[in-house]
Symmetry: C2
Subunit: 492 residues, 2 copies
């Protein structure tokens, strides 16, 4: 922590990249487009995983694990899905290297070890999973199948950014199979609701729920439910999607069941996922020019205690107080780090924990020992106050809730003040360029119009709101009739 971060105003995109790296969350690797998730970043992901996993299990889902590779013949079975991912997939063609005859210290691909059929590194697992479900489903008694997988996937993106878009990323993907269409739709909606609940309550990121237009739908889905968040630069970010897949995959992989009435029917499907991309959303929603700001629910370290001292003896006296305080905080379930390293000065530590977004910092100096007090600083508001030592536990317990709520409210105020209704295309363009955010506008419902708007402005339909009221209006581009506003934005 030697030099200052680029500010958001100076260069938002650079601010983001610098922050990810200097806060020790992740870094680029030697592999094009793939990142290394560092321990501090991974600890956030672990907290996200634990909570999501709990929510999935509470709604009857179980985890399983399917192969990393998809044989090409399975990959291409569901045509739209294949088409959607074929352009950006890593392909394994050989299974052995051998010594280079021209240079014995080098290895080359052994041409004799060519695979009969190429293997695709999964960009998503519908194909391999539905090929497996075929063997699992005979009768209605075998349904529903409610399975989730925690896995890595690979999409060979050309332009990558840490967390937001990487060639390999970590995610969970749910894949469920149902007797009826209605049951599958209910599942897809339920999981979208779970995502919304998780992202809002746990990550303190407000989202809007909706469905995607046909253009933006998942390749192979009949309906894509989604949650969309708004970043501080006015761009939207898709935070999670849940797909109603109809019978597309059941038909592609011939997955039928005998119904209660004794008929052979195709199974109905859903899939749903969130990924390490959410960490990008977390960073861009809450952080500021001083660095990361983490909601207490996701902070690997919730409270840091920094001693301010001269000499061994003072450090020892402060340590007694600090260790006791840390112990009491841990007893109420708060994670605490007492940073008593003498290789770094307090000022450096303050800056470092500010950069890393630790929600509460407690400083204890010689005067605090005399007065029985500590200095307590909040990362979200950058405010400080002096608190009696015997009130620290109560105070911090309260702050964990208060900070979590404050971050959500702050982000929600920003988001709400960046939803603009417009009535025509001129307004649309102006708001997009000057203010950004979500633009609520009428649209005639055609892909053609949507693509034209995208072409002219780079904005896409982020969602058709689920709770949006019906309202007659005219499409901002074509003037054709519309019955509901949709939300446009530029997006990550």
């Amino acid at each position: 922590m030697s030099k200052k971060l680029t500010t958001r105003k100076e260069d938002y995109s650079r601010w983001y990249n610098e922050l990810v790296v200097t806060a020790d969350l992740a870094e680029n690797s030697a592999v094009r487009g793939c990142m290394v998730i560092k321990p501090y970043g991974y600890a956030i992901w672990e907290k996200m995983q634990a909570e999501l996993d709990r929510m999935f299990k509470a709604t009857g889902h179980q985890n399983a694990y399917f192969p990393l590779f998809v044989p090409k013949s399975l990959f291409e079975a569901e045509e739209k899905n294949a088409e959607g991912f074929a352009k950006e997939c890593a392909v394994v063609t050989h299974y052995r290297l051998k010594t280079d005859p021209d240079n014995p210290s080098k290895l080359i691909v052994d041409p004799e070890a060519k695979l009969e059929e190429e293997l695709i590194v999964r960009p998503t697992s519908e194909a391999i999973i539905w090929n497996t479900y075929k063997g699992w489903v005979q009768s209605y008694r075998d349904l529903p199948i409610l399975i989730n997988q925690w896995a890595n996937v690979v999409r060979w993106e050309m332009r990558t950014r840490l967390f937001l878009r990487t060639a390999e990323f970590l995610w969970q993907e749910g894949h469920t199979a149902h007797e009826t269409k209605l049951e599958a739709i209910a599942e897809a909606e339920q999981m979208n609701n779970i995502y919304a609940e998780f992202v809002e309550n746990f990550m303190a990121i407000p989202v809007i729920k909706g469905v995607k237009s046909e253009n933006e739908r998942f390749a192979g889905a009949l309906e894509t439910y989604c949650i969309e968040a708004l970043m501080q630069d006015g761009k939207a970010l898709q935070a999670g999607t849940s797909h109603f897949l109809g019978q597309n995959f059941a038909k592609a992989f011939d997955v039928k069941f005998t119904s209660k009435e004794g008929k052979q029917e195709y199974v109905w499907a859903t899939s749903w996922g969130v990924s390490t991309r959410l960490i990008g959303a977390l960073i861009m929603t809450h952080s500021d020019d001083q660095g990361l700001v983490l909601p207490p629910n996701l902070a690997p370290i919730q409270v840091v205690i920094v001693p301010i001292y001269k000499g061994e003896e003072q450090l020892e006296q402060i340590s007694v107080v600090a260790n006791e305080m840390a112990e009491k905080l841990r007893e109420v379930g708060i994670s605490v780090k007492f940073d008593n390293r003498d290789t770094y000065k307090p000022g450096w530590k303050f800056a470092q924990y500010e950069l890393q977004g630790v929600p509460v910092r407690i400083a204890i100096g010689p005067k605090d020992l005399e007065k029985g007090s500590v200095e307590l600083a909040r990362r979200d508001t950058l405010s400080k106050e002096v608190v009696p030592q015997d009130m620290v536990v109560e105070k911090v317990k309260g702050l964990m809730i208060e900070i979590q709520e404050n971050l959500f409210e702050r982000a929600k105020n920003y988001r709400d003040s960046h939803i603009t209704e417009v009535e025509n295309f001129e307004e649309f363009k102006e708001v997009l360029e000057t203010k950004g955010g979500f633009i609520s506008a009428h649209w005639d419902g055609t892909s053609e119009t949507e693509l034209k708007i995208k072409d002219k402005t780079k904005a896409t339909i982020r969602l058709i709101p689920i709770d949006g009221k019906m309202e007659d209006g005219k499409c901002i581009l074509t003037g054709n009739p519309s019955s509901q506003r949709v939300l446009f934005a530029k997006a990550y």
Copy 2:
């Protein structure tokens, strides 16, 4: 659960495969050598993960995530390691598919999307991780690095078996970096001890600790610590390894640090891992001809309650008792399933839970309602007893400990009775063929002799015991002097 399992005596290998599939643990997939880990099998892995993760963190390790792919130039940097894995690695050569011009419903590899440098799907991550550590280490203050990764790896094995040897498997791999040789050795030993503790106390599998001979060492290691278990067919199984890597990787990737004395020195390394292979060991250690036997610590369902009833009314009455009992058991942390499905008969359920190794089964019938009793059956001993309903919680709590201990003792007795000391090669061959197990014998310490013995008998040195006493003797093959017995066995 319609037909009986092949017995262990009839065909051990077939018994194992049938058991894995019928108990719903895993199955083969459409991808050569890759398995699908089904929810019941994955739930066991999750319990293993949770406990190991806790143990790693308690000893100061943090999780992180490194790329799936290793560029060929990095892969070949540490020569021995590269040589060890080059023969069995999956190679990504292209990043796109395109529509087959001869058959528009098919996809082919796009020859224009050939990677400049091939990517190896990680068989292990030393190369990619040490290339990363290079950027993380400047001074002694940056050490130690104590990192673990939960990941999938791929080794293109030609003969695969569910859990025991699969082309893709799940594992954890620890990779640590240290200032001194002694510290690195201590770390490697510590992690081997943690593995032993975990496998013995949590999985109820007795193990012997030791180090590998040069032949059996990890490619690139100076010393490989290991734990070895014995399966019921007399074959050994390597249950975990921890490697002291010396400065091999630091030199290959030029990872140096400035020491306290201001000198530039290479970093010392360890790596250590256990995998889903341990589930194979779990199955083969405890299970019997009726099916799986699970230690309570790892059982996804610890207690199953099966109602025995005629008609709705009886089921309702039994359900009241069963639900209350389940609730009380859950309150003391025991996982319970009340299987009130009316699509299956009690006999079918009994057989199914026996096959799936549920440690305790409670049956409640009309007579039990009258008498206030239940029938309680133990999976490990296949014994039954009648227990008053109000004593069930205490009884089951005790059984969780008792069954765990009993399984360990049973396996330990078997193992201990299958360690045979031999004095010459005739004896060696006879014991190997008739009894199997570990054979404790003198060896002259040369790779040449070890390979000759392997050639003649298929047995290898499983380990040089760490706690083995020194004893003068003569090598069973060459008669050359030896100062310590080593353990030979045929192995998985």
